[in-house]
């Protein structure tokens, strides 16, 4: 029986038979459909995915005419991480002129709204200068990162210390205080960079700290959109499921704990988000066929009902891309193509 080269969710190579790939695709779809209570993919999509992971091609791509918009979170920091000695503006020019980026993003190396706040006056002139020199839309991006507002990094008691002691009311009170601080930081930085000329603000890795962080981000966006109705807001999520760290928070009558992407999207639309970025976790111990099938099922439930553009977060460790620092081309292009073809994405 012939075997096909593919990879596991951590990127390590594996050889699988047709029956094994087909089974993993079916199980990936079923897992997403069951968890989020959404429609599974159709039979032709299952067949498409099985064939995609059996192809011997090193790189694959979408058909002519099906290309999508590419936006890049934390773009300028990627060069720093790669130890490339270029300035932020040079990084943006490389994205614009050499990498074919459709939307650019300026970011601080400490990629959270809280650390940006004291240095925002240094970020503004970089943005202003970059705007004079570049052509595509240019966003400013940062993470809400509610974890920075609890001790020892921030002023509020740490729910991680309080919850194991059974101090649930105290932990919830801390979250309420953290929300207040973070909304102030996000609206200050977001408003300041928009007033300096940014085309949009990207709230990246939203809800990484759970439902309280999701609440704070929705609140901040709602406030920013009231002040700047024309502002473009991109919201990229941290994972497929909003963790109920607080457990009792609701926004517009919707309980935040436990929300899956298609429900996260509905709230994002309500507060005025312009571009939504679902992020689906990778399970490293399952195959990429399983992970990509599962991702496509979650994301199709978003794109089927979205009124705004959906740019899936197809980066390291999410949305079918292996959890490894050196992402293989065969794996990444399969995730890219599969999600565009099946989900009819607006961008990545």
């Amino acid at each position: 029986m012939s075997k096909f080269f593919t990879r596991m969710g951590d990127g390590f190579p594996v050889e699988m038979t047709d029956a094994e790939i087909r089974k993993d695709v079916e199980e990936g779809v079923a897992d997403a459909a069951k968890r989020a209570k959404i429609e599974p993919l159709a039979a032709d999509h299952l067949r498409y995915l099985t064939e995609l992971f059996e192809r011997p091609d090193r790189a694959v791509g979408v058909e002519r005419g099906n290309e999508v918009v590419l936006s890049y979170d934390s773009a300028t920091t990627k060069f720093k991480r790669g130890n490339v000695s270029v300035s932020k503006i040079q990084s943006l020019q490389i994205y614009e002129r050499l990498l074919g980026a459709d939307i650019l993003e300026l970011a601080h190396i400490d990629y959270s709204f809280k650390p940006v706040k004291p240095i925002v006056v240094f970020e503004q002139p970089i943005l202003e200068q970059a705007l004079l020199m570049t052509i595509p839309p240019l966003f400013y991006g940062a993470m809400p990162n509610l974890g920075l507002y609890s001790q020892p990094d921030g002023p509020c008691p740490n729910p991680g210390d309080l919850l194991p002691k059974g101090l649930i009311a105290e932990a919830r009170a801390s979250y309420a205080e953290q929300i207040e601080h973070s909304v102030k930081d996000m609206t200050y930085v977001g408003g300041t960079m928009y007033e300096a000329g940014a085309d949009g603000i990207n709230f990246d890795t939203t809800a990484a700290a759970g439902d309280a962080e999701f609440y704070a981000t929705l609140k901040a966006i709602e406030e920013l959109k009231k002040k700047h109705p024309a502002m473009c807001v991109q919201m990229g999520m941290a994972s497929e499921f909003v963790l109920g760290m607080h457990g009792e928070l609701s926004y517009n009558g919707v309980r935040l704990a436990g929300l899956y992407p298609h429900k996260q999207l509905e709230l994002a639309q309500q507060v005025g988000v312009s571009i939504f970025g679902p992020a689906i976790n990778i399970v490293p111990s399952r195959s990429l066929a399983w992970n990509t099938a599962r991702t496509a099922t979650f994301i199709k439930a978003c794109t089927d009902v979205a009124k705004i553009p959906v740019h899936a977060c197809v980066g390291m460790g999410v949305c079918g891309v292996p959890l490894t620092l050196t992402v293989p081309i065969d794996a990444l292009t399969r995730a890219s193509k599969a999600l565009v073809d099946i989900c009819r994405l607006d961008g990545l």
Binding site: E67, V68, G100, D102, I135, P136, C232, T333, S336, K337
Partner: protein
């Protein structure tokens, strides 16, 4: 990863009309098919052509929308964005601020 995504599924940024399609998502919240159709209509191109770097380089040259190569006298940076705002019929935040700063 940017290179692999660009090869697999990207429109191509200023090599083609990726930045212009993105503008319609950013400024009008258009989903992709609507944004591509709108841009193609404004450029007088087909929807398939707007991801073609050869066809689009000609169109960007004709309309002076900024090009990927360093061409003497061609629109660059903010001047290309003035042209893009006019051709697409949209407001661009930094263009509006530039006008205000220089008293236009």
């Amino acid at each position: 990863m940017a290179v692999a995504h660009g090869v697999a599924s990207g429109i191509g940024g200023i090599r083609s009309a990726g930045d212009l399609v993105a503008r319609m998502q950013v400024s009008k919240g258009m989903r992709l098919p609507e944004a591509k159709k709108y841009v193609a209509g404004k450029l007088g191109a087909s929807v398939a052509d707007i991801a073609d770097p050869v066809v689009m380089d000609e169109i960007r040259d004709d309309l002076n929308l900024g090009r990927v190569n360093a061409i003497p006298g061609a629109a660059k940076g903010i001047d290309a964005k003035f042209r893009i705002a006019e051709v697409l019929g949209i407001e661009i935040n930094c263009v509006k601020l530039f006008r205000k700063r220089v008293g236009l």
